[in-house]
Each structure stands twice: as C-alpha cells, then as structure tokens.
C-alpha cells in the first residue's frame, strides 16, 4: 500500500525533511531541566492504602455489585465463566500502561483499514456466552442475568483490564442494556452498552442512573464524550450508530484521561 509514487517521495526524502524540521525548531537548552526531572523521579511514588479509598468509592463499588447480586444467579455463573478469562494471556507482550493513549482512531480510519484488508484486532472480542446461548432473540432475560445473546465483549482492554463479569441490566420495551465489569488489580470499571434508542446522551445518563440506582453528576462535553461522575469517580458516555455506551470507574484510581483511552479502544472494537 505504501507503494512508490510517481514523484520523488522516497524514504530518504521524507527522512531528510523530518530531520530539517527537527533541526529548525528552536529548542531550549536541556541543562537545568534534568534536575527537575530527577527530583520528580526521585519522589516517593504515592502508595495507596485501604485508607485512601473514600467512603464514596466504597459506596459505588457496593452499588454496582448490589446491582449484580440483586440480579440473581447470573453473578455466580459468570464468575465461574470469567475465571478462565482472567487467567488468559494478553494477546501482546506490550504492556505499556502509559501507551493507552491512542485516542482518536476514528471510524473512518477503521473502515479504511478494512478496505485495505487490514486486520482490525477483533480477535480480542469474543462471545463468551456462546455456550449459554440458544435461547434465541425472543427470550427475555431477567434483570442481572448473565448476558447471553448480544455482546461480544472484548476480553482485554487497554492491555490490562480483563473482563471479569457481564450482566443484562435491562430488557424492558425492547431496550437492551448490558454491563461488563473489567478489572486490573484494584482498578475496576463498568462498561454499559445499550441498543440505540434515539435518546440524547443526557437522557441516556438519566436512564443509566435509574438503572444502577446511583446518582450521576453531569460534568459536560469532553470531545464527543459526555463526562460525568459517579460518587466523584469519572465516567464517560457516548453514542455511535448502534449503541449508547457509558463507562465509569467503580474502584481504584483511574482518571478521566485513562477512561478516554479505554473508550477510544472500545469505540474501535464495538
């Protein structure tokens, strides 16, 4: 695909142009800056203890798990189901926590990649419920039942967050909302996916709030996301042509920037 053009657009020319661009920038002297970096590197990393978790954080953990547990037996079944997933190996040996920053792989690029016979990494996405499927589209799942028909949840997000649990949250009036909890160490977030209904993101958040029984505080737009908090923990909601989706931190110290990265990855996959 990166074939030779009719012009002299060869590798060396682009390299030379880049080198000239780099050289043209007036760069401040690095001297003196090293000390600042050195002191920041030498700072003792923040250690989180149980005491660091505020009651509000425990509250949201409790709320989310209450949703799951009240939902019924699905919880225990899905734990059994999720165990081998949690033990599965990441598909890549790259584990750069800070590299989860690819934020704007937009849809057109994904489409273009497909047109180019590119491999979109959908192998991470798997229908974990295939064995439980078979009830067909017409079946009504109970609230909290293990999701059984719709989702291909990615097993791994941002290289470290493993799918821990999935549930059906709502199937009223043909609306289908499903949730998945992802976990890495003490960090957990919940991803909720709802078949698109034409409602606004604000309305969607209101709906989510009722669904999980906790208040969501609206923050505002962040790119094409709508930012909110749940017990002061960050969350993002967005829409595409198929789903309304919300992502929010359940426990740990994930920040909104982390969620943006994860959301961007989800947008590519789902």
């Amino acid at each position: 695909m990166i074939e030779q053009d009719n012009f002299n657009l060869d590798h060396q020319l682009i390299r030379e142009a880049l080198q000239k661009e780099f050289d043209s920038v007036e760069t401040p002297s690095p001297f003196g800056k090293w000390q600042r970096i050195e002191s920041r590197l030498n700072e003792q990393p923040e250690r989180r203890s149980l005491q660091d978790y505020s009651w509000s954080r425990w509250a949201v953990v409790a709320a989310v798990f209450l949703v799951v547990i009240l939902g019924g037996i699905g919880f225990f079944r899905s734990i059994q189901l999720a165990t081998p997933l949690a033990d599965s190996e990441a598909p890549s040996d790259v584990n750069e926590e800070f590299l989860i920053m690819e934020e704007d792989d937009n849809r057109s690029e994904a489409i273009m990649a497909v047109e180019d016979d590119a491999e979109i990494p959908i192998e991470e996405s798997v229908s974990i419920m295939e064995e439980d499927a078979g009830s067909g589209d017409g079946d009504q799942a109970d609230f909290g039942e293990v999701a059984s028909t719709v989702s291909d949840w990615p097993l791994l997000l941002a290289e470290e967050y493993r799918l821990y649990n999935t549930i059906i949250l709502d199937e009223r009036d043909g609306i289908k909302s499903e949730g998945a909890i992802y976990r890495s160490g003490s960090n957990e977030f919940m991803l909720i996916k709802t078949k698109i209904t034409g409602q606004s993101l604000n309305q969607y958040l209101q709906y989510i709030s009722e669904l999980i029984g906790v208040d969501l505080e609206l923050i505002g737009d962040l790119d094409h996301y709508l930012q909110f908090t749940v017990f002061e923990m960050p969350g993002l909601a967005w829409q595409n042509d198929r789903f309304d989706q919300a992502l929010f931190v359940v426990s740990g110290n994930l920040e909104v920037a982390d969620l943006e990265v994860i959301a961007a990855e989800i947008e590519e996959i789902i």
Partner: protein, 193 residues
C-alpha cells in the same frame, strides 16, 4: 547516539545513564512535541513529562535499542492527548519559516532535492497529529508497520492507512508545487512490511 550505546544506557538505568539519555534525546523529543502543539511553553512541559514516564516505565521497553522511538511514541501520545484536552486554550506559536538550503547547490539535482525537501516539510506541517506520529515513527525511526501498531496499540491496517494518507498529502503537494523536473522517479522507497 548509537543503538548499542542506547541499549547499554537503558539497561544500566542509573541516574547518570538517564541524564545521558535525556541530554541525547531532549532536542528531538522536544521538536516532535512542538510540531504537534506549536507552543514552546507546553512543549517543554510535555517533553519533561514524556521523559519522566519513559524512565518510570523503562522496564517495559523490550528492545532497549528502540528507546528513541519508544520515547517518541510516549511524547507524541502525550502531546496529542494534551492537544485534545486543551485545544481551546492553546495559543499556537508560528513554526519557523521554511527556507531553501543556505548552501549553494552545485548541481541541478541538488537544487531539485532542496526544493522537494522544502515541499515535503510544508506537507509534514499540515499533517494531523495522528498521521505525523506514524510518519515520524516509520520514516525517521525506521520502525516497521507492525512495530508501530504494537507501540500505538492500533492495528497495522490503521498504521498503513495513516501512512497512506500522509503520503497522499505529500504527493499532492509535490505534484502541485514541484516543477515538472520533479517527476523523474528515483525509487528508493522502503519496502512495505
């Protein structure tokens, strides 16, 4: 800095080695960040953050000779994120003017090359950050498409499409601005992976 020396410094990872790496790669890293942000003040901060992140996570770098490319990824990702978050607040500085080489060109070929370089530089400046990022990694750091995909956590197809678009833009400018003499294909393109 030679890859072997880089590998040794990264492996050593003591304070002196880190300082040496910092001084060796500061300028280039700063330039990459600056081209994305177009703001000296922010470029300084982001460049420092990039070094800190790199040093804090250096154990995750598997091929230690690729420190520069890895650092470029971290820096450009940070810059892109910053740009997305703060784009309404950033006051952009002007990039330096692109002038033809000051040295006299001895031959017609040299003059032509200088003109081509100038045009490609203009095109590079017009690339959106995500395309600029892969162009730097592919053409400057000589990473393969798969390697770039792994580092950026995007599919090789997405890398290819970004490169394709970037090349399209550069080709278009060359076609538009270059004199007919530019059209003598010389080859030399790196084979695709």
């Amino acid at each position: 800095m030679e890859p072997k020396a880089v590998r040794q410094l990264v492996a050593k990872n003591d304070n002196n080695s880190r300082q040496e790496l910092f001084e060796a790669f500061y300028r280039r890293t700063y330039s990459i960040v600056y081209h994305i942000l177009r703001s000296h003040e922010n470029a300084e901060d982001i460049t420092q953050d990039a070094f800190i992140k790199a040093f804090q996570n250096i154990h995750q770098l598997t091929d230690k000779a690729k420190f520069a490319a890895w650092l470029a990824v971290i820096a450009s990702n940070l810059a892109r994120n910053f740009l997305k978050r703060e784009k309404k607040m950033i006051v952009t500085d002007e990039l330096p003017e692109i002038n033809l080489d000051q040295q006299p060109n001895n031959t017609e070929d040299e003059a032509l090359r200088s003109l081509e370089t100038q045009i490609v530089r203009k095109a590079i400046r017009e690339l959106p950050p995500e395309q600029y990022q892969v162009v730097v990694l592919y053409y400057y750091h000589d990473l393969k498409v798969d390697e770039i995909g792994a580092m950026l956590k995007i599919s090789p197809g997405t890398v290819k499409s970004r490169l394709y678009r970037a090349r399209e833009k550069m080709s278009h400018l060359l076609e538009r601005d270059c004199i007919p003499a530019c059209h003598n294909s010389k080859g030399g393109e790196r084979s695709n992976d």
